[in-house]
């Protein structure tokens, strides 16, 4: 299944992933080959089959509604690359 450079670019944008021209072409070739292999699932007629999202038969697992302390701010920020005044710093949007 051949995919185009434009499709790869579109998906990279959705994934917020920068790719150089060279990486884009390599990704196009590899994704085409992998999609060819995984596209095999289309061979099966599964119209009436229910999808499985999760292997256990669990429904609506609820936690007790008990307040507990959250992560202290300084710990939440401990690994931040650019903390600022107790916040996560980012470039202007």
């Amino acid at each position: 299944m051949e995919i185009t450079r434009e499709q790869v670019q579109h998906v990279a944008r959705l994934a917020r992933l920068e790719l150089s021209d060279e990486e884009l072409e390599r990704m196009r070739e590899q994704l085409s080959a992998i999609l060819e292999a995984v596209g095999k699932v289309a061979e099966l007629d599964l119209v009436d089959v229910e999808p499985t999202a999760h292997p256990l038969d669990l429904v609506n697992v609820l936690a007790d509604d008990v307040p507990r302390p959250s992560l202290p701010r300084e710990e939440a920020l401990a690994n931040a690359p650019d903390p600022e005044d107790g916040f996560f710093g980012v470039p202007a949007v």
Binding site: I34, K40, V41, L44, L46, T52, E75, A92
Partner: protein, 470 residues
Amino acid sequence: MTVDTLRLTAEAAAGLLDRGEVSAAELHDAYLAAIGERDGELHAYLRTLDEPNGEGVPIAFKDVVSTRGVETTAGSKILAGFEPVFDATVATRCYEHGLSLLGKTNMDEFAMGSSTENSAYGASHNPWDPSRVPGGSSGGSAAAVAGGLAPWALGSDTGGSIKQPAALCGIVGLRPTYGTVSRSGIVAFASSLDQVGPLTKTVRDCALLYRIIAGRDPCDSTTVELPAPVELPEGTDLEGLRVGVPRQLNEAEGIEPGVKAAVDAAIQLCEQLGASVGECELPLSVEYGMPCYYLIAPAEASSNLARYDGVRYGYRAPVEGGLTELYERTRHDGFGDEPKRRIMLGTYALSAGYYDAFYGQAQKVRTIIGQEFRAVLQDFDVLVSPTSPTVAFPLGARTANPLAMYLSDLLAIPPNMAGLPGLSIPCGLAEGLPVGLQLIGPQFSENLLFRVGHALEQAIGFDSVPERLR
């Protein structure tokens, strides 16, 4: 006393500690000495701890397990320097049982790979033959245990990442039933498949460690209580056991003759130990298991890995521009090739126009796989097959071709899609390298897998110390 770390099981180490024949500090030092001697060659560890943090048996954690204040990278540059502010539940449970952390082991980046060659920190090597891979993604943990650098270790398994390296390194590995071990604090890859489990020298050690880590965790809503306590296996016969040999898992293209021979011998041994053995069929699970996995796991990964954006933790690329550029450059610089491929594949499979044909269809295939296994497990108590189609392959042999690497897990993936537990035990050698036997049972059948694995282990008498290190 002198501790032979190559032979010491965790159970025996606990005995030495209990009897006061060795202290936790002495044990820790013995392993650090072994690491100093052999890890230059094996590169099983990303980092070690100078001092024990408990009074019990030492343990190594795959670097996917969050350890408070101890760098946790999941084998990725994007998490370089990341020091978790809390422990994963499995780490806490180990510490509560007195286990002492030796260090964090190498792995394929974000557990994506079958050889540890995708680690951003360099590949690990197989203790049986350092020119070969230890398997992956828990290859560092497997190499550490097989190479006498840890009595036991934790790994994680999404599509075979415990079973396959255990097989390639000649040790025991359990991928538990989905939902029995907490994922809280585990760096996420594909959440409907990820499970933490033990890599050990013996099946009894495997049961001991599983007993420590298993059980419901309020911090992971996908966990459940075990239906029965974990039992340490004792018996040596398999009277009354019905062993199924799924044809497609045992005759798949690419299974090496030496692997087939060792597994066939183990199957004959099952009969000698009193089991009845019969052939069975999994017509769709093997043929469609891989394609199904390589849609579902990347789809979930593309969502899970969205968190690495250079804002809250981990690597941030130096950029002049705005926020979008920051995200895109950070992810470009921080992720290696394999996570990028899977993020792209998963994003594609989930994107508008392709969702139904790829991700939606794969979820339906998953239903079919579950049904097939359930039907076969009506007639048989356990299923057997090779864990990996091949023995450990040379470093570099599959790095150029992602699809060839993906085939390493051809036989390990199908039961994982159904949420079933799988135990890999060494069953012999082919060309001087270990062969793993995969034992598959129904959900929550770990006690049965331990019993069968233990009986076979006793009968096989495999020496888990690599020949070149004896």
